[in-house]
Amino acid sequence: MTERPLVAFTLLAQAAVGAFITLCAVESFAHGLTAQPAALALTGGMLAAIGPAMGLALLVSLLHLGARGAAWRALANLRTSWLSREILLGLLFAGGATLLAVLRSAGATPAGPLGALAAAAALCGVALVYAMSRVYRVRTVPGWDTPRTTVAFFSSALLLGTLAVGAGLALSPGIPAEPLAGPLRWIGAGAAAGLVTELALSGHGRYGAVRRALLLASLALCAATLAAPGRATPALAAAFALALAAQVLGRYLFYMDGPRREL
């Protein structure tokens, strides 16, 4: 399957965008949590990993090319090709996230210009996920040319991003349970919304039952987090693992079934 690198690229990029926006939201609104040095160090560390993760995703995407040395040419048709736009937005998002991490490590505070930079990077991330979905919404491929593709890519970013951040926070030993409870509830709710969307979109074709079981198990663990965020925090890490497995399977099927036609 030549699309295997694209499964990794799309999921990693979408998870990076979702995690970036979740981390920005946590730092902007969960002041009780970020007052904890361990929590701030963790979110800062995770933010610093977003740029390299997006860079890795772009590198992995090169693996499906036949002539990798000429990959830079993929930016040449911004006028009509969503693939060119996708690559440009991926580079802008990776660059923005990396610059933000560098400025923070240099001692800049997360306000003012840094906030504007974070907002611009987040905007690039959202535009990237949209462009990724438009790559597949080609009028000659009925299996892909549907709003479901766009919704699925955004829900993938939402659930993988929130669960990655939630799992990171939940597994960090130095953060007290009390300031963690509120943000984890919101993270769990965001992940649950993504999971419910994925469940609604999931088909009944090949491996459909397996994928729904993985999504439902992940959703149940998110519900446990919502009900008792202090005790159920390790559950969020398990929810992430299950959701990731469901998304890998779903994306694999997306590439297998989408472009199928008679000719």
């Binding site: 030549t2 090319l65 036949g66 002539a67 040419r73 993929a74 040449a76 009509t80």
Partner: protein
């Protein structure tokens, strides 16, 4: 825009000998797995019971297909490097120097025309034997057809591709292909539920 080239294919005349496919492969030295022209075997029907009797309504016909040098080529639209373009002569060409082999054009083309060549790592496809055309000769597929089922004709831009919606062809409105199909008498019976491509392993390696 002026006239443009189109393949005219007579399904009733085609015997499915695949000489066009072999001639194309030979003319361009294509490797195993790359078929710029493919002959699809479309089959449907079967044994039906009527009272105590069984009778057959099986049918089969062929479709010889290459790049149709569409007036609205989706391959050129989606190509991220701009390696695919429709020239003033109406031919849609791939510039191998600019192609990165992402295969996006192969996904997008509803005719399966762009083919990945492992040797170069780039996409390739029918160029209508442009060198032969320039020398006043017909493309190899056309000149080799023993049944004269395949012709190269010129169409005015905007002319409907008559019969080009015959199963399993896509809606010609999607890309405005340079393709005129004279349908087999059984073609109206064929559809996604009543017929299938019977030689899939051969045409989609």
């Amino acid at each position: 825009m002026g006239a443009r080239y189109a393949f005219r294919f007579d399904q009733s005349a085609c015997s499915g000998c695949k000489t066009c496919q072999a001639a194309c492969k030979d003319r361009h030295g294509l490797p195993v797995g790359v078929l710029w022209r493919r002959v699809y075997e479309v089959a449907g029907g079967g044994w039906k019971r009527a009272g105590e009797a069984w009778h057959s309504d099986a049918f089969a016909y062929h479709l010889s297909l290459a790049c149709n040098h569409c007036a609205e080529p989706i391959c050129a639209e989606v190509c991220p490097t701009g390696a695919i373009a429709r020239g003033d002569d109406g031919l849609v060409r791939i510039d191998g120097e600019r192609c990165v082999g992402c295969r996006y054009c192969a996904w997008a083309c509803p005719y399966g025309a762009p083919q990945f060549d492992e040797r170069s790592g780039t996409m390739t496809k029918c160029d209508l034997c442009a060198a032969d055309l320039g020398a006043g000769r017909m493309p190899a597929c056309v000149s080799s057809c023993p049944m004269r089922a395949l012709e190269l004709v010129t169409l005015e831009d905007g002319t409907d591709a008559a019969g080009a919606a015959t199963f399993p062809l896509p809606d010609p409105a999607l890309t405005s292909p340079g393709l005129v199909v004279m349908p087999h008498r059984d073609a109206p019976r064929a559809g996604p539920r009543t017929a299938r491509v019977a030689n899939r392993e051969e045409v989609a390696p």
